[in-house]
Symmetry: C2
Subunit: 586 residues, 2 copies
């Protein structure tokens, strides 16, 4: 769906370009003019002859053919403009920044559908409406600030909310986070977050593509697509961090379904992300911290060294890492003694490596040298170095610059004096480096990354018959809920393994059932709703005698209709998102 | 212990003052000169005749009498200088910023003890050594930067680590956090964090004293003192936030004690803080965010309104608040309709109150007016307002300024465009306001504050006999551990209520024991170590028959020596920090 005309257009028109930089069309044109775009850039304006020094066109018909069109005009004017451009100017990509569509009114929704229909007919891609725009290495087509640092190995960022994207970039800027492509999908009329991710997967080039993907969304329209392409990208060496907001609202709706914790959509999102290998974040600061960690070389183990001239932050970081399952291992032996001998009296190399308040650039360099080459147990290094304001710390940050460039192990800089050493931090960031101003937020990000498993191997995709069987089953579930029997059939059709189970109504059937299910097993009464309350669930039955005893006892329960025996074998995890079951676009 | 000579000295001498601003004594003198100090300021230097434009003294004997002395000279010179000043110049307060004492070597520890002894003898207060100094409204005696905004209702901040204090102030500065007094206690040779807190409690003036106290420490030397004075300050209307770092190290040591989860010192710190009403924080960003919330009027309920021009951040904040037990209640009824009628089409007042990207200052003002005066269910308001960079937002922040000054309900400003709107944010902060750049970190702080209970009423202090009994018991515990019987005696002496329990060796004793303990009760086998593994613990016994059955069964357990019956009555919480039991200064 996403064409090269969107990613690397030869020509762009801004419909609604303006000389007024306080207007979206004006700022968008300005950002395109002052950015990296080197193709033909046209402005469309009904009356102005010149826009920001460029000649302006009054009518679409006067334009040459054009690959990509930005629309920054009132909603009502958009469908006709999209039609004219698609039909007469071979335009294959549209970015509609205008608002006033489905997010505002039923009439807006009609216009939005019209644009989608026109684009479908002409095989054109539509981004938006109601978005801030798109940035790729070829152009910066947004009407907002800030424009972040754009480099080939920066993050690819897809956002379901424009303003949130702006504020996420603000948060990233202070850490030196860089970007490669930014997509604001707005109302996702045609192209949603998952669709852009699918494009990034399908167009992935191991030599050139960025390896960090960031997502922000409030609804996951197509969890299957997200799962497939996120897993695929991660298996190609990418890392993905995402915020799925709106979890509590959805959670309360799901709670009405009587299916308990698993049906809580937040749990389902957690499960989906875990399965896909996506690191789940919950806020902007969180997302940009995790993203910054992802931009550094991966931590190939659990052991961190901490080099610092300030004990307290190192202690707080150690707490955070240790609580989260990472280690700050004790450094011992001749090499550690050797390092210690080069430091001031009172220093420690036990880890944290504490250089004391008098620690200097030479010592930081030496400690990094030892961590890189002489302490094989160290997988990565955090350097915490600010200033009390007695002297500049350019020399320390120059050491960091050199070591980060040359080292194999990741080095995480914590430069806390963002006010007193603002100039030094600025120069350091300008060299393309990152800063984690708060060590505990860094520690939490490291922990979260380490705790996110690699994507699960996806189950084989079911064949045509199964898929249609699944669809039939869905469509027949009148009220939107599936009965336990239907759930079982659903899982079997989807070839999702489940535990062995047998229903037994007579004592005579027990022996055969045990043989089929196997020990240990659980017995559940059939009939009563609140099984546990009436003693209708017994776990860990592991002998014929205990099964018989439990069977006899359950027969006496009011409402008894029989019992269900289920295997308690481990490792039979499955993923079931009840709220997504009607999604048709798999 | 802490005198007015430390808090509000009439005269100060800096021993080791220098013309070199890169030296601690130089910067300290400079900070004193350029700060609020209006008394006599002297410089002591062996050779220089003038320090930073002030005449310098070469010898202590040449000085007039002086209230407060800062020492910034090598450690070896300090004890004699303290002695001379205390004996000959009536100096009653010493702040030793020099390092090289107990933190470095046994010789340093000796010199540190000498200074403490001299101060004790002359009834003088000693802060440090190895600290950054002290700031009060009367003077700014630190050798570091930044010097934060100092105002009477700023935070009182006590830190066990100087560099950490510096970096905490850096973190606070960006949010506009202000301070009143800052104490860096360094090695706490004489005066520790708890001692300064006790002073703040004992000198508390409801008309003038600041109501927010911040603590950073790595060891709690005197938990009882902390508990008493923190509770007392909170009962006087103060709020306290603290970082206790080093929890995992201590925790692993405590784990060796075989006393399980309760003895984990981190759990003990949690319990102590909860009992005292202290909000526990785990990092710098965390601490300064909680402190900023504390500086605003208290939230008198659980209901927040969120006013925003950006949906995403409001959704993430709503998630955070809802997960943490706070509410973002639906706003309905005629007043809500009325407000909606004044907003642009597509806006929402359901809460979050979403003004859309086109929202302006007038609308923010109106929404705040409704939250303040027409929505009684709203206890506080978060305003999320940044900019996409099309126009300045001074007008919106002016509205915030006015509303924060005049409103009764707390207003929490989230101004995320710290880069694009840096000038607007700066002007807003310069008026004494706060900014929470990340809404999720704000939400977490609000949740934590709401979840911290008021201090528990302290148990009556035990009398003299009990105290000496407790001390005897401690001293007799040779290896540092108490036997279960000794723990029981300890709790009884301290008048800490505990559950009723009786040991029974014969079936004939059961009836009497049941009468004394009462149902429901727990039976535990005496003898075997891993009781649960051998079925030696039975909970919830509530009839004579069940007690008898359990007794018969346990008799058969290998190593049986009898059983312990204990009441299962609820509400018998007690606090026991095993690692603190040898502390003698209660």
């Amino acid at each position: 769906m996403i064409h090269s005309q969107l990613i690397d257009p030869k020509s762009i028109v801004v419909v609604g370009a303006s000389n007024h930089l306080g207007k979206p069309g004006g700022k968008l044109f300005h950002n395109l003019l002052s950015g990296t775009f080197r193709g033909e850039l046209y402005a469309l304006h009904p009356t102005e002859k010149e826009i920001q020094g460029r000649p302006a066109f009054a009518d679409v018909r006067d334009l040459p053919c054009v690959d990509l069109a930005f629309l920054a005009v009132p909603a009502a004017a958009c469908p006709a403009l999209v039609k004219a451009l698609a039909e007469e100017k071979s335009t294959k990509a549209f970015v509609v920044v205008s608002a006033g569509f489905s997010e505002e009114s039923p009439e807006g929704a009609v216009m939005e559908r019209q644009m989608v229909e026109i684009c479908r007919k002409h095989d054109a891609v539509l981004i938006g409406p109601n978005c801030i725009g798109v940035m790729t290495p070829a152009y910066q087509g947004v009407f907002t600030l800030p424009i972040p640092r754009l480099v080939p190995d920066g993050c690819d960022f897809i956002s379901g909310s424009g303003a949130t994207a702006v504020f996420i970039m603000e948060s990233g800027l202070q850490k030196g986070l860089s970007f490669n492509q930014v997509f604001s999908v707005g109302n996702s009329a045609q192209t949603g977050v998952e669709d852009v991710l699918a494009h990034l997967d399908e167009s992935f080039d191991p030599k050139q593509s960025s390896r960090v993907k960031l997502l922000y969304f409030e609804t996951i329209k197509n969890p299957r697509k997200l799962l497939v392409h996120a897993s695929s990208l991660i298996s190609k060496g990418c890392r993905i961090a995402a915020v799925k907001a709106g979890s509590t609202d959805a959670g309360s709706r799901a709670a009405s379904s009587h299916t308990g914790a698993l049906a809580n959509s937040d749990t389902a999102v957690d499960a989906l992300f875990r399965k896909a290998g996506i690191v789940r974040c919950h806020g902007r600061e969180d997302l940009t911290t995790v993203a910054s960690v992802m931009q550094l070389p991966p931590l190939q183990g659990k052991n961190l060294a901490i080099i610092t001239h300030a004990g307290g932050p190192a202690v707080m970081l150690t707490d955070t890492l240790a609580k989260g399952g990472l280690d700050v291992p004790r450094l011992e032996g001749p090499r550690a003694e050797e390092l210690l001998s080069h430091l001031f009296p009172g220093s420690s190399v036990a880890n944290p490596i504490d250089l004391l308040a008098t620690g200097n650039a030479t010592q930081v360099d030496l400690a990094l040298e030892y961590c890189e080459n002489h302490f094989p147990e160290v997988d990565g290094v955090v350097v915490i170095f600010g200033t009390p304001g007695l002297a500049p710390v350019f020399d320390v940050y120059d050491v960091l610059d050199r070591r980060i460039r040359s080292g194999r192990k990741p080095i995480y800089p914590v430069l806390p004096s963002v006010v007193t050493a603002s100039r030094e931090v600025e120069v350091f960031l300008s060299k393309g480096h990152l800063n984690f101003p708060d060590e505990v937020l860094l520690g939490e990000a490291l922990v979260r990354l380490a705790a996110t498993p690699l994507p699960a191997r996806l189950p084989e995709v079911s064949g045509g018959e199964n898929r249609s069987g699944l669809r039939t089953l869905m469509e027949e579930a009148g009220d939107g809920y599936l009965s336990p029997r239907e759930v079982g059939a659903f899982l079997d059709l989807a070839r999702i393994p489940r535990v062995r189970e047998v229903v037994v109504g007579q004592e005579s059937g027990l022996q055969d059932a045990i043989a089929r299910v196997g020990f240990p097993l659980v017995m559940k009464v059939i009939g009563p709703v609140h099984k546990s309350d009436v003693g209708g669930v017994v776990l860990n039955l592991d002998s014929e005698t205990s099964v018989l005893q439990a069977f006899e006892r359950m027969k006496a329960i009011d409402g008894w209709e029989g019992v269900l025996l289920q295997s308690m074998e481990r490792g039979m995890e499955f993923f079931l998102g009840a709220t997504w079951k009607r999604d048709s676009d798999t």
